[in-house]
Amino acid sequence: MELLKTIFEVFMNTYPGFLEAMLITLQITAVALILGTVFGLMFALMKISRSRILQTIANVYITIIRGTPLIVQIMFLYFGITTLVVLSGFWAGAIALGIHNGAYIAEIFRGAIQGIDKGQREASSSLGMTRAQSMRRIVFPQALKRSIPPLGNQFIITLKDSSLVYIISVPELFAMANREAAQNFKSLETYLVVGGYYLVLVMIFTYLLRWYENKLDVDK
């Protein structure tokens, strides 16, 4: 009972700061996902291209990103980029998350593209479409639709992963929790509350995603 009371107190004392921080979390997640989609599309195209060189570049990128911890990538990028150009922590973090996501999204797109029935491409070839035409008009639209559920998952993962940019002082949710806890000396309650923010965001998004998937099924 006592715990619940303190949690509530902490919640009431922190929510102005947390709501602001939540906005930053959502922004950095959105930017990371947009960048990730651009990178992902680029590298997915490289992977399915017929050029060995492009394939290799994409493979190296994906292997490195998937094989190293995100927090290392964030630090590497932050200290790497900021020696070249002046960049805020927010943008350094967003770019790092974007590059990180790009590798996973590339695999999502590649899987979706290769998952389209071979017959679709054969039918378009037999109608006289070039490879590019059949990709653009037949394969990509179907693959994109199939990518949306896994992309939604990736969004959820990114939302949670974005907490790691606290390390480069981006004032997002988790950084805010650290700051609050250092001031109110109620670490347990503060981290419980911040966990709640993430949980609610994820649940809202999961619900939207499920709604969309159901809609897809109905359309089919």
Binding site: D117, G119, Q120, E122, A123, S124, S125, S126, L127, G128, M129, T130, Q133, R137, I138, P141, Q142, K145, D219, K220
Partner: protein, 240 residues
């Protein structure tokens, strides 16, 4: 119209076509039969350049196709293909399926393509389905859309690879009817099918493929009445 000479095709070590000579005259309907694995699909796919032949030549309308020099997409547009599993585009309506290639490949104006598409849908008896998605159609209807889609490119030859094999028995007739109508209108066709009644009634010539070779080529009456090859006799017994 379509002429293959000495066509050889291998997949790795497996030689599937071992020197096929086949010439199809304008408006001729050739039915291709043979046991599973004899190379029927592969032969059709070679004529459509979905497979590259290892040896031999293919002529379309007297023009020998050179897969290295010619634009294959252009040649493929002249040879239509109807697949066993329809391969309709699920993200497009029936009408969009039909007009896609004329617009994208032939650069036809959309209005003109729509007129053409509607005509073709009427021809295959599906005018009322123009705006529905393929998933809402029966197998027979899907295959008729696929035929209309091929016809929209005005191919010189139409290839059918077991167009009714994936259909429920009661839906086979509606597809064969459309094909028979096309044959009457003078469409040049090569049809792989197990529908012997269709072969008997519609084909000008029936060809038996066996282990990658043509072992019998005759008009339906001779083919069924007086086949020369032992394998053909066995085959006819099997299907009749």
């Amino acid at each position: 119209m379509l002429k293959g000479s000495n066509i050889h095709k291998s997949f790795g070590d497996l030689e599937v076509l071992k020197g096929i000579d086949l010439e199809v005259a304008p408006s001729e309907v050739v039915v291709l039969v043979g046991v599973s694995g004899s190379g029927k699909s592969t032969l059709l796919r070679c004529f459509n350049f979905l497979e590259h032949i290892n040896q031999g030549t293919i002529e379309i309308d007297g023009h020998e196709v050179n897969p290295k020099k010619d634009k294959l997409s252009k040649i493929r547009a002249e040879v239509g293909m109807v697949f066993q599993h329809f391969n309709l585009f699920p993200h497009m309506t029936v009408l969009e399926n039909v007009i896609e290639a004329p617009i994208i490949v032939k650069k036809m104006k959309k209005e003109d393509a729509i007129v053409l598409g509607k005509q073709l849908l009427e021809k295959v008896g599906l005018s009322d389905k123009a705006d529905v998605y393929p998933s809402k159609l029966s197998g027979g209807q899907k295959q008729r859309v696929a035929i209309a889609r091929s016809l929209a490119m005005e191919p010189k030859v139409l290839l059918f690879d077991e167009p009714t094999s994936a259909l429920d028995p009661e839906l086979v007739g509606e597809v064969l009817e459309v094909m028979q109508q096309l044959a009457l209108e003078g469409m040049t066709m090569i049809v792989v099918t197990h529908e012997m009644k269709f072969a008997r009634n519609v084909a000008n010539r029936i060809i038996m493929l066996d282990e990658g070779r043509i072992i019998e080529s005759a008009d339906p009456e001779t083919f069924f009445g007086n086949p020369t090859h032992e394998r053909t006799k066995q085959f006819i017994k099997l299907v009749d």
